[in-house]
C-alpha cells in the first residue's frame, strides 16, 4: 500500500502542452505513472507524445478516460480556475503544483473542493510520489526508493535533500508528499499523518515543517493522541527574521507566533524526535524504528 496515489492512479495533466506541463508529463510517463489524458483549451483532439489524448476540458477528459486524479501546471493567473474545474468534473484528488495563487482566491477554492468531496494537495507544492508505483508532480523519481517511511513536507528541494539521505542509507519510502508552502493549502500535516497511520506499509513518518502558522503545532498534538508510529521532525527557519516572507508565501513569523523554536518545542512535547540538521534524519529514524 501507499497513500493517496498508487498503481490505480489515472492521471489527467492540466496544462500538458505548456513548458512545465509537457516536461513533467514526460517525466511522469517515464516513471510509470498512468497518464491517461491532458487538458489544454483549444488543443482538444491532439495527442501528446503521440500517445496521450488531449481534451479541451477536464469534464471531457474524465468522460473519455475515467481519470481519477488531476495535476495542475497552468500559470498562476488561471490556476485557481483549474482547481475549480477539476473538482467540478468529479476528480477525487487534485494536485496543484503552481505557485503564486492569491490567498483570497484560495478562500473560495477550498470550500468548493470540499463540497465536491475532492482532496486538494497544494498549491505551490512539488506533488507526491509512491516510489515504484506512481509519481504525480515534480519530485525527482531517481532520488526515491520504495520502502516503509512516509514523508510529508511543506517544502520542495528540502524534501529532496532529506529523501536523498534516506534512500542512500537504505531507508525507502512508502509515499513522499509535498503539501505546499502557501498559507492556505488543501491537505495539511494532520491529513497526511492520518493517512500514514492507516497505511499498513508505512512504519515510520518524517515531518518537515517550517516557520509560519500553527499547522505543525496542531499536528504534534494530533500525533500524540492518534499516531502510534514513530515520527521524526524537522523545522526550517530557525534563523529567519520575524515579519519577512522566506520565499514561501506561508513561511513568515507573524509577531511572535509561528517561530521554529515554538514548533520544535511542540514536536518534542509530543514525542516527535527533532532533527537539528537534515543529516540527523537517518540516525534518529534508525533509533526509533
Amino acid at each position: 500500500m501507499s497513500v493517496f496515489i498508487d498503481n490505480a492512479t489515472r492521471l489527467v495533466v492540466q496544462g500538458i502542452t505548456g513548458r512545465d506541463g509537457s516536461f513533467h508529463a514526460k517525466q511522469m510517463m517515464e516513471y510509470g505513472t498512468q497518464v491517461v489524458a491532458g487538458v489544454t483549451p483549444g488543443k482538444g483532439g491532439q495527442r501528446f507524445e503521440n500517445a496521450v489524448p488531449v481534451f479541451n476540458t477536464v469534464a471531457e477528459a474524465v468522460a473519455a478516460t475515467k481519470a481519477n486524479t488531476a495535476v495542475i501546471y497552468v500559470p498562476a493567473a488561471v490556476a485557481a480556475s483549474a482547481i475549480f474545474e477539476a473538482a467540478d468534473a468529479g476528480i477525487g484528488l487534485v494536485i496543484c503544483i503552481t505557485e503564486g495563487i492569491p490567498v483570497l482566491d484560495m478562500t473560495r477554492v477550498l470550500p468548493f473542493v470540499r463540497e465536491r468531496g475532492a482532496r486538494l494537495i497544494g498549491p505551490n507544492c512539488p506533488g507526491l510520489i509512491s516510489p515504484a508505483k506512481s509519481k504525480v508532480g515534480i519530485i525527482p523519481g531517481n532520488i526515491c526508493k520504495p520502502g516503509n517511511v512516509g514523508v510529508v513536507s511543506r517544502s520542495g528541494t528540502l524534501t529532496y535533500e532529506i529523501v536523498h539521505q534516506l534512500s542512500t542509507h537504505g531507508l525507502g519510502q512508502s509515499t513522499c508528499i509535498g503539501i505546499g508552502g502557501d498559507p492556505l493549502i488543501g491537505t495539511n500535516f494532520i491529513d497526511c499523518l492520518t493517512a500514514f497511520q492507516a497505511d499498513a506499509e508505512t512504519e515510520a513518518i518524517v515531518m518537515i515543517g517550517e516557520i509560519g502558522g500553527t499547522d505543525e503545532q496542531q499536528a504534534a498534538e494530533f500525533a500524540k493522541r492518534e499516531v502510534k508510529k514513530p515520527i521524526v521532525g524537522f523545522i526550517a527557519g530557525q534563523t529567519a527574521p520575524p515579519g519577512r516572507r522566506m520565499g514561501h508565501a506561508g513561511a513568515i513569523i507573524s509577531g511572535s507566533s509561528g517561530t521554529a523554536a515554538e514548533k520544535m518545542a511542540a514536536f518534542e512535547k509530543a514525542g516527535i524526535s527533532v532533527m537539528k540538521r537534515p543529516a540527523d534524519v537517518v540516525p534518529l529514524l534508525q533509533e526509533r524504528m
Binding site: 528540502l158 502558522g213 522566506m246 537534515p278
Partner: protein, 380 residues
C-alpha cells in the same frame, strides 16, 4: 507588499469609509502649505513601513503651520527601524472621544477571512491579544456570502452601545471587507477607529498589506509600491526574479528552493557562522539568475565567503555552473566560494566548474562546514 498610511487611507476613502482629511508632503515647505490650508492644529506623521512611529519621534503635533514645517524638517530624513522617512502625512488634529480597533486578516487555521474588533484601540493589537484576549471579538466570514449585515452588527455592538454608532461601525466593516477583496489585501486594519465628540465614527489610521500574488493582476495597486522604502538589493533581486532577504551575517547563501534555503541558513548557524542573506534562485534555472544572485551577494561588503547549495530538481546543475562561470567573467568575486551541487545534470555541472578551476561538493553538511571553517580561518 505594505502600503503607506496615506495610501491605505486613500483606498478606504474609495470604498466609502469615512476618513478625516489628510495630505502627504515630501518637503517641509509642502508640509507648511498643507497645514496653512487646513488651519488650526495638525499632526505630522512619518510615512514608513514600521510600527511604533510615535515612540520613535515620527509623529508630532503642531499648533501652527510654522511648527508643522519645523516638525516636517525633523521627521523627513529620519530613520525609523532602519527605514528613512521620505514622506509625511499632514492631518488636522482630531478631537477623539473613543478609540477602537477593526481588522481583517486571512486566518490560516480556519482558511477564512476573519474580522477582529476590539474596544481597546489605538494600541498594539498583539499586545491586547496577549494580555486581555477577552477584549478581542472575532468572526470568521464565509467568503461565499461575505460579511452579512447581522454579523457586522454583532461586532458593531461589541464596540459601541449606541445603535447609530454600532450601525456606522458595521457599515465600515462591510466596506472594509469589500476593500480587502477589491484590492487583494492580506491584512487591512483601522487602528484606531475613533468616535468624535459629536458622535461620528471615523477611520483615523489605516494599515493595508497586499498579497504579493495579487500584484500581477492589479497593476494599479502594484504601482503603489514605494521602492525607496526597500533595501536596494531586495529591489534588484525582485527585478531579477530572485527572492532575497538581507541579514546581518557574513556567509552569502545561494540556494534553490525556499525550504532548503532556510535549512542552509540554519546549518550555517549550527556550525557557528551567520548567514548574510536568504536567497532562493527559484525553480526553473537560468544561468542569468545565478549571475544576478552573485552580483547581489558580492555587493554586500560584509560577505566573507559564498556558499552555493543546489539540489537539482527542476533546477539543472549545468545551468547553475554556467551561471557561476559567467559571473566570474563579468566581475571578480573577491571572496572564496564553496559549491555544493547535486541532482539533475550534476555531472555536467561539475565538469563545467572543474574546467573553470572550481571544485564542487555533493554533501550539504560538508559544504556548510567548509564555508564556516574558511570564515574562521580568515578571522584568525
Amino acid at each position: 507588499m505594505n502600503l503607506h498610511e496615506y495610501q491605505a487611507r486613500e483606498i478606504l476613502r474609495r470604498y466609502g469609509i469615512p476618513v478625516p482629511p489628510g495630505e502627504v508632503a515630501s518637503t517641509p515647505a509642502e508640509a507648511r502649505a498643507i497645514a496653512e490650508r487646513f488651519g488650526g492644529k495638525v499632526v505630522v506623521k512619518a510615512q514608513v513601513h514600521a510600527g511604533g512611529r510615535g515612540k520613535a519621534g515620527g509623529v508630532k503635533l503642531a499648533k501652527t503651520a510654522a511648527e508643522a514645517e519645523t516638525h516636517a524638517k525633523a521627521i523627513l530624513g529620519m530613520t525609523i527601524k532602519g527605514l528613512t522617512v521620505q514622506k509625511v502625512l499632514i492631518a488636522p488634529a482630531a478631537e477623539i472621544a473613543s478609540e477602537s480597533y477593526v481588522g481583517i486578516i486571512v486566518d490560516r487555521a480556519s482558511q477564512r477571512p476573519v474580522l477582529m474588533v476590539s474596544p481597546a484601540g489605538g494600541i498594539d493589537i498583539e499586545e491586547v491579544a496577549a494580555k486581555t484576549p477577552e477584549k478581542i471579538h472575532r468572526r470568521a466570514v464565509d467568503p461565499r456570502y461575505g460579511l452579512l449585515s447581522h454579523q457586522a452588527m454583532m461586532l458593531g455592538f461589541a464596540l459601541y452601545k449606541d445603535v447609530k454608532q454600532a450601525r456606522a461601525a458595521a457599515d465600515i466593516m462591510q466596506k472594509l471587507y469589500a476593500a480587502v477583496y477589491g484590492v487583494g489585501a492580506s491584512l487591512a486594519e483601522i487602528n484606531p477607529l475613533v468616535t468624535t465628540p459629536d458622535g461620528a465614527v471615523q477611520a483615523l489610521d489605516a494599515k493595508i498589506a497586499i498579497d504579493d500574488n495579487e500584484l500581477e493582476r492589479r497593476p494599479d495597486i502594484a504601482a503603489l509600491r514605494d521602492v525607496s522604502s526597500e533595501a536596494p538589493e531586495e529591489v534588484a533581486a525582485r527585478e531579477a526574479g530572485l527572492t532575497f532577504i538581507k541579514l546581518e551575517g557574513t556567509v552569502g547563501c545561494c540556494v534553490n528552493g525556499a525550504g532548503l534555503a532556510m535549512a542552509t541558513m540554519d546549518l550555517v548557524k549550527y556550525y557557528g557562522g551567520d548567514p548574510a542573506n536568504f536567497l532562493d534562485i527559484g525553480g526553473s534555472s537560468n544561468p542569468q539568475k545565478v549571475v544576478s544572485a552573485l552580483r547581489i551577494i558580492t555587493s554586500d561588503p560584509r560577505v566573507k565567503v559564498i556558499l552555493f547549495n543546489i539540489f537539482g530538481g527542476i533546477t539543472r546543475g549545468d545551468d547553475v555552473a554556467n551561471g557561476i562561470v559567467q559571473a566570474t567573467r563579468e566581475f571578480t568575486l573577491k571572496v572564496p566560494i564553496i559549491i555544493r551541487l547535486t541532482g539533475t545534470n550534476e555531472q555536467l555541472g561539475v565538469e563545467i566548474l572543474r574546467k573553470a578551476g572550481f571544485s564542487a561538493l555533493t554533501d550539504m553538511d560538508e559544504a556548510v562546514k567548509q564555508a564556516v571553517a574558511l570564515l574562521k580561518g580568515k578571522a584568525a
